[in-house]
């Protein structure tokens, strides 16, 4: 592997443009540079997978069981509001 293969983007630059890349915010040329870098650089391809795992884990938080009490409190607010409205 020659140095010029990865020179377009350094790893340090790569980690800063990753969100733009994942969000579809790069132009075609920049996207091609990033994708070429991922293919060539094991560290950065691991980094992308770590970021995808991180996003996946964040999504799992929403599936955790919510506490039941806030719903009861909300219902009390509703009934009070309703009583005031029809009064």
């Amino acid at each position: 592997m020659s140095r010029t293969d990865v020179e377009h983007v350094t790893c340090r630059e790569f980690v800063e443009v990753l969100t733009d890349y994942l969000e579809g915010g790069l132009d075609a040329g920049e996207r091609a540079d990033v994708e070429r870098h991922i293919v060539i650089c094991r560290g950065c391809s691991n980094y992308v997978e770590q970021m995808r795992s991180t996003i996946d884990l964040l999504g799992r938080i929403a599936a955790e069981a919510p506490a039941g009490e806030p719903a009861t409190a909300a219902l009390a607010i509703f009934r009070e509001w309703q009583a005031g409205r029809s009064a």
Binding site: T10, V15, L18, C41, S53, T54, A71
Partner: protein, 224 residues
């Protein structure tokens, strides 16, 4: 039937939200119960990014519900019902957070993620004296080699929660809405009143920090 151009993210709820608004205006309890079931847990998660104390966060959510009910007759449907509810929560939680921390130095509130922080510590990369300057000195590990229960276990989720709690508030709220609640960037910008560019910077900083925290946790006990 031809598909109609409605902003992405609002499509599935739109008609159904109109029906909910109408039912709420008629004072139907079932409609309110449905609304709480849909958004209650998400509102509490977002409130907790502003006010860390759970009891205070719950109060903010309750205040939000009351404001929603009191304002429902005036709701004009210019944003989605969901966006409107979260705007109310966000404004109330911010006010409350300022009150809770008014004795704290201003800098504690100024942590908005505008500062120039790196996604990865500089010492992880080769320095300028090296011919591979800017490339990994200590490359990230392959997490797919980890046992699934290590990567996806409840202790790892606890670490994710802890990492979110250490984020500056604005980074935390964007991260929670985007990656925990799964909102579109447009919805997040509307609910929080921020530009798309700002939203992406806050998301980038927040995700990078949570990844770094997970990397520290997951590398514990790993044999070098």
């Amino acid at each position: 039937m031809q598909p109609v151009a409605i902003p992405a993210g609002r499509r599935p709820d739109n008609e159904d939200e109109q029906a909910l608004v109408a039912a709420l205006r008629r004072g139907e309890e079932a409609a309110f119960v449905e609304l709480v079931a849909r958004h209650g847990a998400s509102l509490l998660r977002l409130a907790r990014t502003f006010v860390r104390d759970r009891a205070v966060a719950e109060e903010v959510v309750q205040e939000t519900w009351l404001a929603v009910l009191n304002g429902i007759d005036r709701f004009e449907g210019r944003s989605s019902l969901k966006t409107w509810i979260f705007q109310i929560l966000s404004n109330r939680a911010k006010t409350r957070a300022v009150r809770e921390r008014r004795s704290a130095p201003f800098s504690a509130l100024a942590g908005d993620g505008e500062d120039d922080e790196a996604a990865v510590d500089a010492d992880r990369f080769r320095d300028e004296t090296h011919r591979w300057a800017g490339h990994w000195a200590a490359a990230p590990a392959d997490w797919s080699a980890l046992p699934e229960e290590r990567l996806l276990g409840s202790e790892t989720l606890t670490q994710v929660h802890a990492a979110i709690e250490t984020l500056p508030p604005r980074q935390a709220e964007v991260l929670v809405l985007r990656d925990v609640e799964g909102w579109d960037p447009e919805e997040v910008c509307a609910a929080l009143g921020i530009s798309d560019g700002n939203q992406r910077i806050l998301l980038h900083r927040a995700r990078s920090k949570v990844r770094a925290a997970l990397e520290r946790y997951l590398s514990e006990g790993a044999t070098p």
